[in-house]
């Protein structure tokens, strides 16, 4: 027994020493020559059918004209989340040149890991991004003033509603009253009390860090007039706007107007809930349902043209494992050109992060009025803040929200204040 313990301890000591030696080794990737190098590259795109179709056509269009710089497109490997897959791939050095599914919330962590190429280092890097996206591009700058992601597409979060359920509940299905918190609550109660649907709305009550983007953050963006969760290194949400949003949702959960159990299907598509918070990507999943869209409510009501929401953007990042970065940059511009952005819009219904979208593609929006609502909303988007320990900060927020709002524990104001103080500490750490 004693001998076994000594052998195990010795083995662990040797393993620890090996770990210490191996900690900063590995082959160098990227490098200054890579930025001017051209040749074949690989890209990953999302795995939903619409984006796969778009990805395949853009790769085919590029390859037809660039036989010497072939691009290979692949769906992002399956994993618990895209972020976990990309993080593991950065560590292993197996990332492709470009990933068309990079969450802005993960960019600070990927940057810290040394996994991202500074796009501002390309001669036309910053100017291309800013000319395409306009003033909204500023939200995607890292704290060092450079771009490590190209703002690609957004899915402005709005309220979808089921017209048949609204009608059954005695509510005008073409213009349900949802502009103010009082109207929203009254409509929600009418739906549940009439038994038109079991719940008025059913955002996921799960504890993952990103779930707050689809309940709190969209409402906070609207109520605060476009504030991010953190600004100038400090939390913003411990204010009247943040507290009123939390109070509203606490009332919704307390009144059983929203479900607090994990749901195993699509509560909106199957009629369990009358409303859903989602972006235009969701339209493809609704089939023949008659649906309508409304902006996010605010406490006192606002003109729709003044209301902000969460962007739910996915961006494109170039990874340091890329050996042919000049090709990757050219392909990145090609895939975000006017023509390819239009193809993205037509094939997926998602909004390219371009300035003045409705003026750029007037014919498409004239032919597809429901999408015009999202396009006009796309001019007023709030992104997740680009701060250190971003994921930890969102998890901290979610844990506080779960306790105070979904389960109604303690005082909302105290919960918000504590979460804000904890997040301030996190974002100040490098």
């Amino acid at each position: 027994m004693k001998r076994s313990i000594i052998i195990l301890a010795a083995a662990l000591a040797i393993a620890s020493m090996l770990a210490a030696c191996g900690g900063s080794g590995g082959s160098s990737s990227g490098g200054s020559s890579a930025t001017t190098s051209r040749g074949p590259i690989t890209i990953w795109y999302s795995n939903n059918p619409q984006e796969v179709a778009w990805g395949k056509q853009v790769v085919a269009a590029w390859n037809a004209a660039h036989a010497d710089q072939k691009v290979t497109g692949q769906e992002i490997p399956a994993g618990s989340s895209s972020e976990a897959v990309i993080s593991a791939a950065i560590t292993a050095g197996t990332t492709p040149a470009l990933i068309y599914n990079t969450s802005p919330a993960s960019v600070p962590d990927f940057q810290k890991m040394g996994g991202l190429v500074n796009l501002s280092a390309f001669p036309d890097g910053a100017s291309y991004i800013e000319s395409r996206t306009g003033a909204a591009a500023a939200q995607y700058k890292s704290t060092d003033g450079n771009y490590y992601q190209l703002p690609w597409k957004s899915n402005p979060v709005m309220i979808f509603y089921n017209k048949a359920i609204m009608q059954k509940a005695g509510i005008n299905p073409n213009n349900p009253p949802l502009a103010t918190y009082a109207q929203f609550l009254s409509t929600a109660r009418a739906i549940v009390e009439s038994k038109a649907a079991k719940y008025a709305i059913y955002p996921s009550p799960a504890s993952e860090f990103f779930q707050s983007w689809y309940d709190f953050y969209a409402f906070y963006a609207a109520e605060s007039g476009g504030k991010q969760l953190v600004a100038n290194g400090a939390s913003t949400f411990a204010d009247a706007a943040g507290i009123s949003v939390e109070q509203l949702w606490r009332t919704i959960y307390a009144g059983k107007l929203a479900g607090n159990e994990p749901y195993t299907g699509d509560s909106f598509a199957d009629g369990t809930a009358a409303m859903e918070l989602a972006g235009p990507w969701a339209i493809a999943t609704y089939g023949k349902m008659a649906w309508g869209v409304a902006p996010i409510p605010t406490s006192g009501g606002m003109k729709p043209t003044a209301i902000y929401t969460f962007s739910d953007a996915k961006n494109i990042a170039m990874y340091t494992s890329c050996k042919n970065q000049a090709t990757a940059w050219d392909f990145l511009k090609f895939s975000t050109s006017l023509a390819e952005d239009k193809a993205l819009l037509v094939m997926t219904g998602q909004m390219p992060l371009r300035a003045n979208l409705t003026k750029v593609y007037p014919a498409f929006f004239a032919a597809h009025p429901p999408y015009k609502l999202f396009a006009t909303q796309a001019d007023r988007l709030v992104e997740v803040p680009n701060v250190s320990n971003s994921i930890q900060a969102w998890q901290t927020f979610r844990d506080a929200w779960t306790s105070a709002v979904i389960f109604g524990k303690g005082d909302v104001s105290a919960s918000v204040t504590k979460a804000a103080a904890d997040i301030n500490k996190l974002v100040s750490q490098k």
Partner: protein, 312 residues
């Protein structure tokens, strides 16, 4: 015998001295080392090195980086451990997994032993029953968990049967009942495997022992208590150890069944937080400290349980 003579007798003959030294280092059967080397290398690669690396990480400021990225990893002493111990969420996760083990381990031992005994005595449908108990163990967790979520939600079959006795909120969103529900699910899912262990042990209990006990006037229960249960004690020790080790590593169920350690953090476990902090949040150094504390805790509990189950 004089001292010199004794030494001469113990020492090898001059010609065999080299062979004696080799035998002393490599043992009686050096070929055995060669045969076990592949497995030893496998264990070193997938267990010893990662464990050593984890321990090393827990004493340094460490985060994952791209290959070639030169980043300092300064020694931070016990800072990561202090962070972990001072975090109420981590402390709560250890309490939750303790709660899980208190429910799961006894249930596992009792039900698997009883069902194994029943199967051992069953004459009809024995094969069918064995397969039936084993099916949940080999079925994908995701599928099983989805079925249990349907069964235990507010409108599920369990609540419909219980009627007014059903808890409110429902099982998986009830801070009191969520972890016991998970413990019950895990007990059910893993029962087939533990039944097989007990069944193998029961089939090795000689019939003569029970017959002798019957001749001495023992009832069936007395015979079971004084003959069968002591005879399967090694299997009981193994079942308890495996149930503790797999239970302490609980992750999938809180991740899927209660949607990320819910409700309100009531089913977080050390391994769930280890995943959250190490993989999602980019702090593998803190996650490693949780891992090391968990390993120490499991070793202590396993040692104590072994002492209890092997007690004469």
């Amino acid at each position: 015998m004089p001292e010199l003579q004794r030494k001469a007798a113990a020492a090898p003959a001059p010609g065999g001295q080299r062979r004696w030294r080799i035998k002393r280092v490599l043992g009686e059967h050096p070929a055995g080392l060669l045969l076990s080397a592949p497995y030893a290398l496998f264990v070193a690669a997938v267990f010893v090195y990662p464990l050593g690396f984890g321990i090393w990480m827990s004493f340094h400021h460490y985060f994952f980086t791209a290959p070639g990225a030169v980043v300092p990893h300064p020694f931070v002493g016990l800072k990561n451990y202090a962070t972990v111990i001072s975090d109420p969420a981590v402390r709560a996760s250890f309490v939750h997994v303790g709660e899980f083990l208190i429910i799961n381990v006894p249930l596992t031992v009792i039900f698997s032993l009883l069902l194994a005994t029943a199967l051992n005595n069953a004459i009809h449908w024995r094969g069918f029953l064995r397969v039936s108990y084993y099916v949940p163990y080999v079925t994908a967790s995701v599928a099983m968990i989805t079925v249990w979520m349907f069964m235990f939600n507010s409108g599920g079959i369990v609540n419909r049967i219980l009627g007014p006795l059903a808890p409110n909120p429902a099982w998986l969103v009830n801070t009191t009942w969520a972890m016991p529900s998970i413990a019950l699910y895990v007990t059910w899912k893993q029962l087939g495997f533990f039944i097989l262990l007990f069944l193998a042990a029961l089939q090795n209990v000689p019939d003569e022992l029970n017959e002798a006990a019957a001749i001495d006037g023992a009832s069936r229960w007395q015979s079971y208590r004084t003959v069968t249960i002591p005879a399967v004690r090694p299997a009981t020790t193994l079942v308890v150890l495996l149930a503790i080790i797999t239970g302490a590593n609980l992750f999938t169920e809180p991740y899927l069944m209660t949607s990320g350690g819910g409700p309100n953090g009531a089913t977080t476990t050390p391994v769930f937080l280890l995943y959250q902090k190490g993989i999602e949040q980019g702090t593998p150094d803190v996650a490693s400290a949780i891992g090391v504390l968990l390993v120490i805790g499991v070793l202590l509990i396993a040692y104590a349980s072994r002492k209890v189950t092997e007690r004469e």
